[in-house]
Structures are given as structure tokens and as C-alpha cells.
């Protein structure tokens, strides 16, 4: 079912001979009517023949897109009933344990959505679950892009746009989490307030500006609401548009395989196969979110109660995607803040904040770094198998581990209670792990990648051990090796090979510092490497092993 770009779908010749049915006539008229006024046929022809390769991991971005659509739909419903106001009201809805309690209009209206508006609770849960799925699928999509090297030229810009989308998704998530003005979200805002106030000199000013006075003030929910439903989604949709346009311009990557080259894309065209599949897939994602929201509670604000600066519940955490930031704060040992004259310098906040910004900056800049190291100016449309870029894969594994340790730290208290540990022990272990675990992950991953490459090389050259032992007429025993088919072998042998850059003097006869750095980085990347099997090696190897046929011939 793979279709090449060069093969246009041509209508069967017989259909032209038959008189058109009524339905066809209407469709034709409508299509003509629109085309004559918009000249859209050119676009449809161009887009409709875009090819999308088939691999499960290529659908993760789609998951993000479709959950975003679910978020837009459910979010619109919520705006009909939500009141972004911090005016104090007395709750008088159906939930007994909050009846008569004073709270903000935001909280009260969210409770009304949950208990007094038909379908409100379901759609609130749909909105929140879809948001969690949205960020999770973006994260997984980014990991897929990273580990297959799909960020290489010409896709570096799209990587950066995707990164911006990820940050926007985090911002959308956090502003949304803060809107109901319940206890949990208020505590989250208090942490943000603390982080802002930790910035030297301007921090306190920014905090007063943001909250319209002292925390919590009466302005923040309204302001976050404007960001959440207006500004952030507008930027998000624009960036999403750019992301999709670049996806179409750059074409989709594909895994190596027979007939797949840097110059073509093998897969299904948008019209009709991919569009039909994608449309179906949207409803599947909608269904998964809907089922989850129907059966599983999320963010039970009625339990948290209205925000009040005094209580902080045990087990207060942000939503999972902000967890890594919360974890970074939790891992800082106490006593890092100090006084400089009359001012407190909050190193306990500055260090994690700067650390996280650097981490995110490294993520955004990685494609440019790798391009500099390899010096590779070619376009790449064949995705790498992770094992075939051991150093990149190992760096990725180290990054994932670093993130995972911070993420784990955000649930340190729950780890302590549920696994019967001491919270201090958990924190100390994670404080060490945040430095040690990425190094271990790097080393182990790199070795695993190289080992897998060796295995691939072995299989490409000598085939599989079939387990069949044959005695030859001369009395010699041999195990029959089954050779791969050429199709299968192609997948194992076609990948890019980079040798470390040789450090050479430039035309003035000097070795510059950047050149020295690049040579060192290149050495780090490609010192340990397995060279892909060449054609001569394959041909030479055929003599070594007895193939099935040879054994058959010889034993006759």
C-alpha cells in the first residue's frame, strides 16, 4: 500500500463513460463553484498528493494536535459559564460541604460548572485530561524527533517552533490550573510569586505588577484568564500553523528502507488515505479523552476548597508537566539564601530557576550544536535509528534521566509515604541522582547503542544462526546461517557515518580555538563508532558462511 510521490492516483477509465449520477452532479457543481471563486484546486492538488510515511511514532504529533482540538472545544464550553473574577461571593450551590462558605466568583462558578450545569463536570474533566494528554504527547513527540535525528537540516527551525509550542503548552497548562482559584492552584501561584520575588532587584516589583499589589490580590485570575483564553492560544495557533506549513514544506522524514531515499517520501497520500486515517484517528483520541474523563476524577476542586493563603495541603503538587520545576525547588538544600547588606539573595530559588532555563535552552539549541559538531550541511530526510547515533542517543538519555529525577523529586513526599521511606532519604538520594544518574544513563546508553550496532553488523554480514547443525561429508560440523533478504539487510546497513574531524591548520597556518573545540567535540561524538557494512564486505562475507543452498548441494 506504499505509494510513491511519482504515482498519481488516476481515476478508472470506465467511470468517465457512465452518465454521472445526481450525487456526483451536485458534488461536481459545488466543487466547480468553489474552485472558480477561490482557485483552491491548485492547493488541494498540491496538498492532496503530499505523502505521509507510516510508522506509529510518526503519529505522536497528531495526538498532540487532536488533543489540542479537544481542548479548544471543551474550553469554549467552559468559557460560557466561568467567571474570571476574584470578587468574594457566598457559595450557594449543590455541593453541601462548601455551602455558605465565602469564596471568589471564579471558584464559585467553577463549582457551578461542576455540580449545577448539565455536562459541566464531564467537560471540565475532558478539558483537563486533554490538557495533560496534550503536553504528554508533545513531550513524547519531541523525544521521537530527537532520537531519530529528525531535527537535522532542513528541520532545525521547525524544531525550534516545536519547542516554542511546548513552552506555550506549559504556560497554557499553568494558567489554566490557576484559574479556578481553589486551594491547590492558589498554592501553585504562591510558589510562582516566590520565584518571581527571588529575582534580584526587580523581583518584588514584578510580583506587585503581576498580582496588582500584594499577593494574592484581586486581579490575578482575570489577568491569567486573558492570557489563557486569548493571548497564549493565539500565539499557540499561529506557531502551530507555522509548524504544519514547515512540515509540509520540509516533507516528512521516513525510516530507511528499500526504495526510500533522501529524495523521495514513501507512504500514503493525504487524499484520500491519510486524511481518512487521520480523521478516524482524531475521533479515537477524542474517545480516549472522553472515556478517561467519564470514569476518572481530575482536579477535584470541591475537595481542595477555596483559596486561602493560610492552609497548604499535604501532597500539594503542580500538574505533571510543571513537576520538574517543583522538583528542582525541592532538591535545593536549605540555607542557600544569604544577606547582602539589607537584601536577601535567594540562591535557593535562583539556582533552580537558572538551571531550568539553561536546561530548556540546551533542548532548544541542540540541533544547531550537533550541526556544528558534525559540520554536516546536507539535507536529511531519512530518520536515524537511535542506535546509529550513539552519542546523540546517549545525550538524550542523560537529558531524559535528568528531567525524570527532577520530576520524581516533585513527588518526594508521596514516594516517602507509599514506599515507607523517609522523606529526607528520598531527597538526599535524588540530590545525588540528579548529578550521577544522567552520567550513568549516558554511559550505559552509549554502550547499548554500540552493542546493538555490532549485532546489526554481525547479522548483516553473517546472517542469523539458524540452530541447524549439519555434518559435512568430510566429518566437519557446521551451523547453517540463514542470510537476511536484501530488503532486510538494507535497513541494517544504510545509515550515516561520521568520522571525527581532523584538526588541521587553516589557510593562514593557524589552529584556531573554535577549530580545536570543534575537533574535540567531534572526537567526543564519533570516537567510538561502528562503520556501516559496505558492499565489498557483504560480498566478501558470502564466502565465509555456508548458506542453506550450499549445504544442500554439498550434502547431496
Amino acid at each position: 500500500m506504499t505509494v510513491d510521490t511519482t504515482a498519481p492516483a488516476s481515476a478508472p477509465a470506465t467511470s468517465a463513460d457512465l452518465p454521472p449520477s445526481n450525487g456526483t452532479r451536485v458534488t461536481n457543481w459545488a466543487a466547480n463553484y468553489i474552485d472558480e471563486r477561490t482557485s483552491i484546486s491548485g492547493l488541494v492538488k498540491e496538498l492532496g498528493r503530499k505523502i505521509f510515511p507510516d510508522h506509529w511514532s510518526f503519529m505522536l504529533g497528531e495526538v498532540a494536535l487532536y488533543s489540542f482540538v479537544v481542548i479548544l472545544l471543551s474550553g469554549t464550553f467552559l468559557t460560557f459559564f466561568f467567571q474570571p473574577s476574584m470578587a468574594v461571593v457566598t457559595y450557594d450551590g449543590s455541593y453541601a460541604p462548601l455551602k455558605g462558605i465565602q469564596m471568589s466568583a471564579a471558584m464559585s462558578s467553577t463549582l457551578n460548572i461542576s455540580f449545577d450545569i448539565r455536562g459541566g463536570l464531564l467537560l471540565r474533566q475532558v478539558h483537563h485530561w486533554a490538557a495533560l494528554l496534550f503536553v504528554a504527547s508533545i513531550g513524547l513527540h519531541m523525544l521521537r524527533i530527537y532520537f531519530t535525528g529528525a531535527f537535522r537540516k532542513p528541520r532545525e527551525i521547525n524544531w525550534v517552533i516545536g519547542f516554542v509550542l511546548f513552552v506555550l503548552a506549559l504556560a497554557e497548562g499553568f494558567t489554566g490550573y490557576s484559574l479556578p482559584d481553589d486551594l491547590l492552584s492558589g498554592n501553585g501561584l504562591r510558589i510562582i510569586d516566590g520565584m518571581v520575588k527571588g529575582i534580584p532587584v526587580v523581583g518584588t516589583w514584578i510580583s506587585y505588577l503581576l498580582f496588582g499589589g500584594n499577593f494574592p490580590g484581586e486581579a490575578i485570575v482575570g489577568r491569567l484568564y486573558s492570557l489563557h483564553i486569548l493571548l497564549l492560544p493565539a500565539i499557540l495557533v499561529a506557531a502551530l500553523g507555522a509548524h504544519m506549513v514547515l512540515l509540509i514544506v520540509n516533507k516528512h522524514t521516513q525510516f530507511a528502507g528499500p526504495g526510500r531515499t533522501e529524495g523521495n517520501v514513501v507512504g500514503s497520500p493525504i487524499m484520500p488515505v491519510f486524511a481518512a486515517k487521520a480523521g478516524g484517528f482524531f475521533f479515537i483520541i477524542f474517545g480516549v479523552v472522553m472515556l478517561t474523563a467519564s470514569f476518572v476524577t481530575i482536579n477535584p476542586i470541591w475537595v481542595y476548597g477555596p483559596y486561602d493563603p493560610s492552609p497548604v495541603s499535604a501532597g500539594t503538587q503542580p500538574d505533571w508537566y510543571i513537576g520538574f520545576a517543583d522538583g528542582a525547588l525541592r532538591l535545593i538544600p536549605h540555607g542557600w539564601e544569604f544577606m547582602l547588606g539589607p537584601y536577601t539573595v535567594s540562591m535557593n530559588i535562583l539556582v533552580p530557576v537558572v538551571g531550568l532555563v539553561v536546561f530548556l535552552a540546551v533542548v532548544a539549541a541542540y540541533p544547531f550544536f550537533e550541526a556544528w559538531v558534525t559540520g554536516d550541511k546536507r539535507e536529511h530526510h531519512i530518520a536515524d535509528r537511535p542506535r546509529n547515533a550513539p552519542t546523540r542517543t546517549a545525550i538524550g538519555a542523560a537529558g531524559v534521566t535528568f528531567y525524570a529525577v527532577l520530576w520524581t523529586a516533585a513527588s518526594s513526599d508521596l514516594l516517602a509515604t507509599h514506599f515507607k521511606l523517609t522523606i529526607e532519604g528520598v531527597i538526599t538520594f535524588l540530590q545525588v541522582s540528579v548529578f550521577v544518574a544522567p552520567v550513568i544513563a549516558y554511559l550505559v546508553t552509549k554502550r547499548i547503542c554500540i552493542a546493538l550496532q555490532k549485532k546489526d553488523r554481525e547479522i548483516a554480514l553473517h546472517g542469523f544462526e539458524s540452530g541447524r547443525i549439519v555434518r559435512l561429508p568430510g566429518g566437519e560440523y557446521v551451523e547453517v546461517h540463514e542470510q537476511l533478504s536484501d530488503y532486510e539487510r538494507w535497513k541494517l546497513v544504510s545509515f550515516d557515518d561520521h568520522a571525527p574531524v581532523m584538526l588541521r591548520p587553516n589557510k593562514d597556518g593557524k589552529i584556531t580555538v573554535p577549530a580545536r573545540l570543534r575537533a574535540r567535540a567531534s572526537n567526543w561524538f564519533f570516537e567510538d563508532r561502528i562503520v556501516p557494512v559496505s558492499l565489498t564486505e557483504i560480498e566478501a562475507s558470502h564466502g565465509d558462511q555456508l548458506t542453506q543452498e550450499q549445504v544442500a548441494v554439498e550434502s547431496r
Binding site: P97, S114, Q317
Partner: protein, 269 residues
């Protein structure tokens, strides 16, 4: 008045019921009877109760000697490993023994809740015995344990006073050095009340000036409300907040989505 009554009987009457002494003597008899009866009944009641109490005390003492004294000392004076129980009150014993925390299974950061080791009568005997050692909080009146108080007030008090350790939904939380605030779901009203007045282990004491008995009853009512009413949104995932939600979305939602993508792109055989 009966008209048939003869003058002679009328006379007899005036010398009997109508005699000036009659009311006086009636009064005397009445007083004597009431007083006597009162004296009789009260003395017998006191005697019965005190004999019952003294038997409970002696039972409790025996139980104490064989089950508790090895740590708390024969006179409940305490030791290096266990506190003195003089003045902890019946409520404390009823809570610790009635929830199975005492006798402790092993020393550790905190005594674990476990199956109760004694019958209700034995727990009561132990509590009565320990209560005789010194004045302390007694077992709460059942009037505060009905769970019919003001739920909204109770919820607010719970958030302000209890949620920082026990979590807003009473799901429990971590304390320092391996200690923890236990989950409250399913705890009996009596034990919750006793925990508040006695402050077991790491819990602070909430005495009647801190939180009045009525407000304690309100808090209990809120916790009972949570017990009786499952989450309106569906499975509550242990009420652990965003951590369990995040795990759920990664494992189940994203897991099933990935399974679907693999299925959709599978090559037909």
C-alpha cells in the same frame, strides 16, 4: 359527692381522711418513702457501679501488666522506650489500643495501625485502669460522634487545621524522618475525636479551647461525608492530586493511545 352518704360515715371520714393530722402524716410518710427509696436505690447503684468499675480496673491492671508493662512499666510510669501513661486518660488508651497501634509490633519511626488485639471489653478495661492513674481526656460522649454536624464548617476547619498533614481529602501525607500522617478514610468517629483530644504520636493536641467539641463534631461530620460520598467525578485515584493524575495520563491514556497508533500502522499479514 354521693348523696347516699350517711351523717355517721361523714363523721367517720372527718375523723379519718379529713382529720387535721392526716395531711401531716401523709407528708411524713411520703417523705420517708421517697427518701428511703432514694437512699436505697442510690446506695445500691453506687455499689453496683463501683464494683463493676473496680472489677474493670483490676481486669485492666492485669491486662496492663501482661501486655503493656514491659515497656510502660508496672506502674505505667514509663521507661526509656515508652512514655509514662499517668494522666493520658481513657481516650488515649481507647485510641491507641482500639486502632491496634498498641501494643506496638516493633519500634520504628511511627507505630503502625494494625488489627486490634483486644476485645472491646478488654480495651474498655485497659482504658478504665489507665484513667485511674491520673486525670486525662475521657472517651467522648456519643453526642459528638453522630456525623450529623455542619459539614461546611467542618470542611473549612479541616482545611485550616488538619489538611497540612493529612491532605485536604484526608489521604494522609509525609512527615519528617519516615513519620507520616495516616489516611483518615474509614476511621471511626470516636477515634478521630480521641486523636484530636489526645494528639497521638506526632499529632498536636486540639483541646476544647482550640476546637470546641461542637466543631470537632463538625470535622467528624465532614470526614464521614467524604467516606459516604464517592468522588462525583469518578475514580478518585487515591485523592493524591496531580501526581496520580499525571501517572494515570502517562500510563493509561498515553499508553492506550500508543497501543492504538501501533495498531493503526501495523502491516496486514
Amino acid at each position: 359527692m354521693a348523696k347516699s352518704a350517711s351523717p355517721s360515715t361523714r363523721k367517720a371520714r372527718s375523723s379519718g381522711r379529713r382529720s387535721p393530722l392526716a395531711s401531716v402524716s401523709l407528708l411524713v410518710i411520703g417523705l420517708l418513702a421517697t427518701g428511703g427509696a432514694y437512699a436505697l436505690f442510690t446506695t445500691s447503684a453506687t455499689a453496683a457501679t463501683s464494683s463493676q468499675v473496680s472489677s474493670m480496673v483490676s481486669d485492666g491492671q492485669k491486662l496492663f501488666s501482661s501486655n503493656c508493662a514491659s515497656c510502660h512499666g508496672l506502674a505505667a510510669q514509663g521507661s526509656g522506650v515508652a512514655p509514662s501513661l499517668v494522666g493520658v486518660g481513657a481516650a488515649s488508651v481507647d485510641f491507641q489500643v482500639g486502632t491496634g497501634r498498641m501494643p506496638g509490633a516493633a519500634s520504628g519511626p511511627q507505630l503502625e495501625k494494625k488489627p486490634v488485639q483486644f476485645t472491646d471489653a478488654q480495651v474498655a478495661a485497659l482504658a478504665t485502669y489507665v484513667a485511674t492513674l491520673g486525670p486525662g481526656p475521657s472517651i467522648p460522649s456519643s453526642a459528638y460522634l453522630t456525623g450529623k454536624g455542619e459539614v461546611a464548617t467542618g470542611a473549612e476547619l479541616f482545611r485550616v487545621n488538619c489538611a497540612m498533614c493529612h491532605n485536604v481529602a484526608g489521604a494522609g501525607g509525609a512527615l519528617t524522618e519516615g513519620k507520616y500522617a495516616p489516611p483518615l478514610a474509614g476511621s471511626s468517629a470516636k477515634h478521630i475525636y480521641e486523636a484530636m483530644v489526645t494528639g497521638p504520636q506526632n499529632m498536636p493536641v486540639f483541646n476544647d479551647l482550640n476546637i470546641t467539641p461542637e466543631d470537632k463534631a463538625n470535622i467528624i461530620s465532614y470526614l464521614k461525608y467524604l467516606d459516604k460520598n464517592p468522588s462525583p467525578g469518578g475514580l478518585d485515584l487515591g485523592n493524591l492530586g496531580p501526581v496520580s493524575e499525571g501517572l494515570f495520563v502517562w500510563i493509561f491514556a498515553l499508553g492506550s493511545v500508543i497501543a492504538i497508533t501501533v495498531w493503526l500502522t501495523a502491516k496486514s499479514n
